[in-house]
Amino acid sequence: MRVDEAGAALMLAAVARAVLDRVDDLTDADLAIGDGDHGIGMRRGFEAVEMVMEAPPPGIDGVFRAAGMAIMSNTGGAAGAVFGSVFTAGAAAFAMQEEITAEGFTAFLAAAEGAVQRRGGVAEGAKTMLDALAPAARAAAGADDLQAATAAAAKAALAGVEATKAMIATTGKARSLGERSIGHPDPGAISMSIILGAMRDYVAG
């Protein structure tokens, strides 16, 4: 499916619905290794995204930036800052673009990854959403079309979630658990994979 300015808004509305459908799972994942508020935080953020997407600003980058601002202002916590940054910083990749291409999508993920890394001050392996985002960015690179790029990203993100189970958290609320965080997936990584999975599904039509 071709994703133009209107499509971008529809896609992010679909992303929002996908996240909202999984709020309880996110809560439970955060209860296991964090403070149990990731689900309700993402709900606040993505309910706001849903609303904004009903009357989105112009430009694909505008759509993404608006989503990012909605997340940033309503989510709170670590998730608000990192998922907000994914969209606000990633939005620049779509500047002046008429549609979302595989290259644009790949550039979006790369920009998002860089922004999260700078903001959160951690690298891959710290058991964060970056462990879903970074492999997704690598997997999308070089894909032939948007469908392939989003599919590869979503798949890599899901594998990233799996991989976080083996990691020891070194940032966020889960850090205190040390080795006891092993065996549990990172809540933010789950969110990242839900977001990318919903993008893939939207693009697949």
Partner: protein
Amino acid sequence: MAKPIKKILNDPRRAVHEMLDGLVLASDGRTRRLPGVDAIVKAEIPEGKVALLIGGGSGHEPLFHGFIGENMGDGAACGQFFAAPAPHIVYEAAKAVHRGKGVLFLYGNYAGDNMNFDIGAEMLADEGIEVRTLRVTDDVAAAPPERMHDRRGIAGDLLMIRVAGAAAAHLGSLDEVERVAKKAMAGLRSMGVAVLAGSIPETGKLTFELADDEIEIGMGAHGEAGISRQKLGTADEITDQMMEKILADLPFRKGDEVALLINNLGATTMMEMLVVNRRIRQILADRGITVHRSDVGTWVTSQEMAGLSISLMRLDAELKHYLDMPSRSVGYSSLEAK
């Protein structure tokens, strides 16, 4: 867990908003709320004053918004339960309290708070407002001393807000306020013990599980893992274990003068805190450490979590001077000379 969460609330999703309205009303004119933003600021802040902005997730009442007042915070940026405030709240609150001399951000060291306050600080920097940041890292259970930047901020927040609040009210420059606050932070150590779990109103779920005869030494303010899950034991045993760890960390030494804070994590009785205080005083006396002043009360909570924390701050003449100033706020000391 089977225990139902019974709270006197309306819509849990509106609880933070309603709570902040209730707080401003309880302040009897001494604070106000920023329109449309979850931030509380002092009603009157003199021109030319260094501003102190505190804040963080809600659910730890009376921290933070209950600590806005004389010789305490000028403003509080308030997040939802257990969630750092969004950057625009930080930004708006800082703008509202800034009086031309810069703003000290003082908050607990959590990834979410760090990121959101940093974004707020960058927005303020763009407008030429100077911001310094001091993160409270008093929880000795969170990480070894060499990883101080990985330590959480817990009940020591109150002592920091009192010292920094008094310094910000009486010193003319951000540099000086920051210097005093940093010195206070350097000598501050805390640790908690949890007996029963608390919950977040909106999820209605307890944030951790403890067996009926278990406690967790060193548990964090959001239910983050501590250093030892163990059988209940006596008050003296628990106190000894906590004091051992706290005293060795700085370390506190013979001849030191300290401020002592015993903090209720929520549902613990004052009786328990006083029994613990009795033991703490014996230990400190044995070690030749003097208590300059003490606070025993409910300051930094984790909803209905039961348990308590112990904080010690090493004092010098300057820190005593600021700590002895009368802090007044809804949550600390409601007294205001009328």
